[in-house]
Amino acid sequence: MRKRFLIGLGAVLLAGTAIAVGSRVTSAQQPAPPAGTAVTLTRADSVRLEGPRQPIFFRHDVHAGQLKMQCQYCHYSVSYSSEPGIPSMQTCMGCHMYVSGSTPTNKAEIRKLTTAWGKKQPVQWIRIHELARHVHFPHSRHIFALGPDACATCHGNIARMPQVYKVNNVNNMGFCITCHIERKVTRDCSTCHY
């Protein structure tokens, strides 16, 4: 206890402010999106790509990047709910009833989708961003404040990710606070914690 105390205190004495400020900067910057936005990727590539391997090799870079689909098209409730909304299988089938893919990989992956639809078995996606349960983050408020393209602020440039990975640890409170300080919005605890 005493040791920790001395360390903490010493740090503060010497460069408390500097450290605090410094950490704000560091936690604010994001790593650049990966280079792997080549259009042709096979299922095998998903192994070497960053981020967890999904049951279906869904290409955000294709849908959001090349096809320029709005995030809200699939994540439908993000602008009016605390939850962004995971697209229902029906939403996927809306297009893939007709779009069956060009490359073999695409075909294969889309077939997975159609079979799942046929069996009424929803695809179980691996969750990437899971906010701690004691934090309440209303997506709608943030989309309202930062505009519909603000997703990248936290999630990174998804439009260039063949396979989504975690760019920011959204569970670092500092990550949230930095933004709130920069934008001079409330830092009141009960805004998120209740």
């Binding site: 205190l9 503060v12 004495l13 408390g16 402010t17 605090a20 830092r187 605890c189």
Partner: protein, 170 residues
């Protein structure tokens, strides 16, 4: 014991007044850098050696001041860094921080005092000087660094003042 061996004469005394006389005479005849071993702090011998008062108090003083500043500084700065109201009190409530300022004054003050002893004592290396376990018991030891040429004279002075045991340590 990498340190260079210091030639000189080591004398042991039973009686404090004898030791003191010897020290005074030796200093008078221009012998510097004596080392006097005692089992406990002893004013007579301090007086005989006549070194100025230890500067360790400066360490205490500045340590205390730094601690006090740190105590108030950090508390006030931290309270303002993320201002939260509690119990309708002002964010930087100085009276509440007095306790911490005080404790840190004491803490840093005493730690720097300890640092003081260590640093100051290390300034004068005792490496290579002879020592006898009896010094921690009841004997007073006086070591006079000197070349072989002067040793005889030193021994005479020491013996004359009642040293019970004189060793030439060349």
């Amino acid at each position: 014991m990498a340190a260079r061996h210091v030639p000189g004469v080591l004398a042991q005394f039973d009686h404090v007044d004898g030791a003191c006389d010897a020290i005074r005479e030796l200093k008078a005849t221009g012998y510097k850098d004596l080392t006097v071993y005692t089992a406990a702090a002893n004013h007579e011998i301090e007086a005989a050696i006549g070194d100025p008062i230890s500067p360790v108090r400066l360490f205490t003083l500045f340590g205390g001041i730094i601690g006090c500043a740190a105590g108030f500084g950090t508390t006030i700065w931290m309270s303002r860094d993320w201002p939260l109201i509690v119990g309708g009190k002002s964010v930087a409530a100085i009276p509440a921080f007095v306790a911490i300022g005080f404790e840190l004054t004491i803490l840093v003050g005493s730690l720097s005092t300890v640092a003081g002893i260590i640093i100051l004592s290390m300034r004068k290396s005792l490496k290579g000087r002879p020592y006898s376990p009896r010094f921690s018991d009841d004997r007073i030891g006086v070591f006079v660094p000197c070349g072989a040429d002067r040793a005889a004279q030193v021994e005479r002075v020491l013996v004359q003042h009642g040293s019970v045991e004189v060793v030439r340590d060349a």
